[in-house]
Amino acid sequence: MTSQPPPPPPPTARRRPRLGGILVHLSLVAASLVVLLPLAVVFLTSLKTSEEVAGGGAMSLPGDWLNFSNYATAFSDGRMLTAFGNTAFILLFSITGTVIIGSMTAYAIDRFRFRAKKLVMALFLVATLVPAVTTQVATFQVVNSFGLFDTRWAPILLYMGTDIVSIYIFLQFIRSIPVSLDEAARLDGANSFTVYRRIILPMLKPAIATVVIIKGITVYNDFYIPFLYMPSQDLGTISTALFRFKGPFGAHWENISAGAILVIVPTLIVFLFLQRYIYNGFAQGATK
């Protein structure tokens, strides 16, 4: 270890190569392997022919690295195009709705004084304690009574209506916007709605980005709600469409793997591009 050239002296005292450091790196490499290995194997499988899957071991390499036929099968027979369409539709509406509803709530709570304010806040606070997963049996009846069962509006409304995390994020952020801005606008004759539209909403952009990312990932990955509320074949989201692979593709692991990779790739791309915001968003969203 002494043979290594000494690192240039950094401003703060830092890493010296020593046994502890090596063990730390080893543990990181081991953890990375644990994370990547299952994914890598599924990726390999997605490129294999069904004979290769049946014959070779799980870790064997595909004969043709450019064999994308499983992806084609998964995409067309698995109705992935419809699924991506439905998911995009739901994403668009539920995210827009969440942003509008969350920011309006935060604006009303932070910028106004009214008698029932404490009560309203208590309602939102208590609701955070009720996990949606426990109330689904009864929520189902409510959704059903509106005639929304098996439509794309059921998940959209549910995603909009139960999102308290975004209200918290907006509330945090709205507090940091000086009230003097509102007042200045009011002197110029703006009413509350104009203040919200022209002052608050544009200033909330960073918070909106956070909410869009968190909500987007949650909605994209959610299985429970589309599974319960949209049983029709045509209304599959990417989660439920992929889940249905279990039936027709049965033991065709090459097709199932291709489907899984198809679903993971968009997440990976978004993650690579927005890494920093995603970390911050989750750290903010979950602790608030």
């Binding site: 689904q136 409510v142 990955n221």
Partner: protein, 321 residues
């Protein structure tokens, strides 16, 4: 410019009069004369949010409690009031109660998960080569679609699948059906949940650790504190709120596991969890009443745990107010 002046002048008469009355009785006067429109403004903003909140949270909770005392099947118009019969069934029929024990696997897994996440968060909060790469790798599983994860691990646990192949490299030839018997199936599924959720805990801890002012470390290093001492006296105290939040999330999460076991085993071989059972009772066996009672029990347990946590670790930032 003219518009602005008009707006100001339009307001001045009232303002002038108020000022003339003197500051003492101003608030009273103001609220009395406040136009109706101004008073309902906050409600205009809260209309949609409150409607959604009540419709999709409070109405269901109230209905659920009501259903839990009936024998309703979820479809027929008549429901009979059966008192606490549903609750008695949950606690006396072993096959209904058994699902609680499955939670212990996930609970144990969460403890492991939190420890692992804490270790990596601490390690990666120090300067380290490839730090961002490791951060990304550790966090990424949390973002992956649950169904995809289910399939990835179904393949992983297959006979002669990835896990068996890896084990054989180390000379451990197994002929073990990982999802074949309740103990190993639940352990395997809990392992998947660790794989999936460690990243979230990790990022939460990392965020908390990084919000610690850097001078603290510098001071500690000047005093010759070791890494362990820095962890013990600087990091551990400052992440306490996040840690307690993670523990609560872990407990309520362990009780409400659904996706992974449902996707991977459908709840077969003793892997059925509380939520899987509730969903099956309600939507397959049309026992809405019984399912509601089960859901009420789960809700009460989770509320109880949250309450205990709030008592033990007083929340310093109730900042909705």
């Amino acid at each position: 410019m003219t518009e602005t002046t008009d707006a100001v002048t339009a307001k001045t008469p009232a303002a002038g009069r108020r000022a003339a009355r003197g500051p003492a009785n101003r608030p009273q006067q103001r609220s009395a004369r406040r136009p109706a429109l101004q008073r309902i403004t906050p409600w205009l903003f809260l209309l949609a949010p409150l409607a959604l909140l009540v419709t999709f949270t409070y109405v269901p909770v109230a209905n659920m409690v009501y259903y839990s005392f009936t024998d309703w099947d979820g479809v027929s118009p008549d429901r009979n009031f059966t008192g606490v019969d549903n609750y008695t069934q949950i606690f006396t029929r072993p096959e209904l109660f058994r699902v609680f024990f499955v939670s212990f696997y996930y609970l144990a897994a969460s403890a492991f998960q939190i420890a692992v996440a804490l270790y990596f968060a601490t390690v990666l909060s120090f300067d380290l080569r490839f730090r961002n790469l490791f951060k990304g790798i550790l966090f990424f599983p949390y973002l992956i679609n649950g169904v995809a994860i289910g399939f990835v691990f179904l393949y992983f646990f297959q006979d002669g699948g990835t896990l068996d192949s890896v084990l054989s490299w180390f000379g451990a030839e197994t002929d073990h059906a990982w999802l074949g018997d309740p103990t190993s199936a639940n352990t395997s599924l809990a392992g998947v949940s660790v794989w999936r959720f460690t990243g979230l805990n990790f990022v939460l801890f990392l965020g908390a650790i990084q919000s610690i002012p850097g001078e603290l470390y510098e001071a500690a290093q000047l005093d010759g504190a070791s890494r362990w001492q820095q962890f013990r006296h600087i990091i551990a105290p400052s992440i306490k709120p996040v840690l307690s939040l993670s523990i609560i999330l872990a407990i309520s999460g362990s009780l409400s596991v659904f996706e992974i076991p449902y996707i991977m085993t459908g709840g077969a071989t003793g892997t059925s969890t509380f939520v899987i059972q509730t969903v099956k009772l309600a939507f397959q066996f049309n026992k809405t009443g019984l399912a509601s009672a089960a859901a009420v029990v789960l809700l009460l347990i989770i509320l109880l745990i949250t309450w205990i946590q709030r008592r033990l670790v007083p929340d310093e930032k109730v900042d909705l107010v």
